[in-house]
């Protein structure tokens, strides 16, 4: 597994850059991961989604899909795409330091 360094700490990620161990993540790492995703500044709504992603992961063992995010996070799917243009579920999961959402099969 590749190693990435955020906020001066080494963390384990997969080939696509998703955290493998969410406990290695700290809030201080998020802005740096976001910048690598071309999000220059994490605003309050970004943080709302990031925190929601982590809470969902803790509860269910996987991050939510875009559709579920739109229904439950308090941010609409349209706004989610404005916040995370390259795909909210994946980008937010990466920034929130949780594994790639399993999605639906």
């Amino acid at each position: 597994m590749p190693i990435a360094t955020y906020a001066g700490k080494a963390v384990t990620v997969n080939e696509e850059g998703f955290f493998q161990d969410p406990s290695q993540w700290t809030e201080a790492m998020a802005p740096e991961i976001a910048r690598a995703q071309s999000i220059d500044e994490l605003t309050e709504p970004h943080w709302q989604v990031i925190k929601f992603m982590r809470a969902e992961y803790t509860e269910k063992g996987t991050g939510p899909t875009v559709r579920v995010l739109g229904k439950t996070s308090g941010v609409s799917v349209k706004e989610l795409y404005q916040l995370f243009p390259k795909g909210p579920a994946k980008m937010a999961a990466k920034i929130a330091g949780i594994p790639k959402p399993r999605g639906c099969i």
Binding site: V66, L80, Y81, K86, G87, G103, C104, I105
Partner: protein, 408 residues
């Protein structure tokens, strides 16, 4: 038993055989008496099946000692063990099975049911849509046909791909293939959810001249302008769109506190099918929120485990956690051929043979698989729904015959 489709019918019939009448009373509730053979929907648009051929009476698929009530469901009071029915009556239970499948929620996608709906924008995921699409394909004389999955989960995730393959075949038969541009538009990052199968299926799309657009999250269907628009503002133009709408659980699930998840699917243990809401509630088939495909084969394999677990629950024994996510799907590829995939929670679809090394070829086009798919319709009505075991096809996924090494 809420729902008289594949899961409700086969489980009720199995339970009926397990228990004498005087010990257990079985009631199946459904809002209508139309049991649709859903795998047949794919064939209707191409004139390979007629709508009326794939619908039979729900009641008539049930053992005579099972009561069938045709009434809508208002909500379930899980705490009180009561189902509130649409006619104002109540139905108490010792064990409840949710088998009401999934519903199409077209209205959740902007514009989908707006101008052009059922004129140039169709779905083949219900009987009326499949029949209307058949009429449209009869007069289609060329142009851009797009097949779009709005988002997962959907019933039978391979069906939209099969639609593409059959469309390629169909337009060659009617002699206008060169005038038709076929495009498959999916929210996934590949042709399918599982890597090895995704690769093979992407290869097949290419072979058949079907363009593939991935990671497209449809935000709007503009029927009059002939455009699919994604949330990240990409566009795919069409003259005819075949859209697989968003799916959700039956609407009463959302009206029943604690029963379902955000999309109305019932949260159950993925190995025992017992609800997280209460031990005497179970779910089967498309209604269950488990991480495998929403498919008839899944429902069939779940059925064995469900019935055994209801027996154990009633006998106060520990449940059997043996459902492994097994799914088995014939994928029609046109020209009298099909391929077969077989997988579970842990093992993705692999090449090889099913169920053993001398069986049907896996992940490979063959005439045998096509015949298997055709033959299945009769097995469905006469073996699967009555709750009989299919010879050689068990609940757990067979490992022998699969070739993990040759997969990559």
């Amino acid at each position: 038993m809420l729902g008289g489709g594949t899961g409700g019918t086969l489980s009720a019939n199995r339970l009926r055989r397990l228990y004498p009448r005087e010990d257990v009373e079985i009631v199946v509730v459904d809002q209508n008496d139309d049991h649709v053979y859903q795998p047949g929907l794919l064939f209707v648009p191409f004139g390979l099946a007629r709508a009326e051929e794939i619908v039979r009476s729900r009641r008539h698929q049930l053992h005579k000692d099972i009561e069938f009530r045709q009434v809508s469901i208002e909500r379930v009071d899980v705490d009180a063990d009561i189902v509130h029915l649409g006619d104002g009556t109540e139905l108490g239970y010792d064990v409840l099975v949710i088998a009401t499948g999934s519903i199409l929620v077209e209205e959740e996608t902007e514009g989908l049911t707006g101008p052009g709906w059922m004129e140039k924008v169709f779905t083949f995921y219900d009987v009326a849509g499949a029949a209307a699409l058949h009429d449209a394909l009869e007069v289609f004389d060329g142009g851009r046909l797009v097949v779009n999955v709005v988002d997962m989960p959907i019933k039978c995730p391979v069906a939209p791909l099969e639609f593409c393959f059959l469309a390629d075949w169909f337009f060659q038969q009617v002699g206008i293939r060169e005038r038709v541009e076929l495009t498959y538009v999916t929210p996934l990052d590949g042709a399918f959810t599982k890597p090895v199968a995704a690769q093979r299926l992407a290869g097949l799309l290419k072979e058949k001249g079907v363009a593939l657009v991935t990671e497209f999250n449809t935000g709007e269907v503009d029927g009059s302008g002939g455009r699919l628009v994604s949330y990240d503002e990409r566009e795919v133009g069409f003259d005819l769109a075949v859209v697989v709408p968003l799916h959700g659980g039956a609407s009463y699930v959302a009206r029943s506190p604690g029963l379902g998840d955000e999309l109305g699917f019932v949260s159950v243990n993925e190995h025992t099918l017992q609800s997280a809401a209460k031990p005497n509630v179970f779910a089967i088939g498309d209604a269950a929120g488990v991480p495998t495909s929403k498919a008839g084969s899944v429902t069939h394999f779940e059925g064995e485990v469900l019935v055994e677990n209801i027996r154990r629950f009633l006998a106060d024994e520990p449940l059997d956690g043996s459902y492994d996510g097994h799914a088995n799907c014939f994928i029609e590829t046109g020209f009298g051929k099909a391929l077969l995939i077989d997988f579970n929670y842990d093992t993705e679809p692999l090449p090889g043979h099913f169920p053993t090394s001398v069986g049907l070829p896996l992940l490979k086009e063959s005439r045998l698989n096509h015949l298997g798919k055709l033959m299945f319709q009769s097995l469905y009505w006469h073996s699967l729904l009555p709750g009989r075991d299919l010879p050689g096809v068990g609940s757990a996924m067979p490992v022998r015959g699969k070739d993990a090494e040759g997969a990559r």
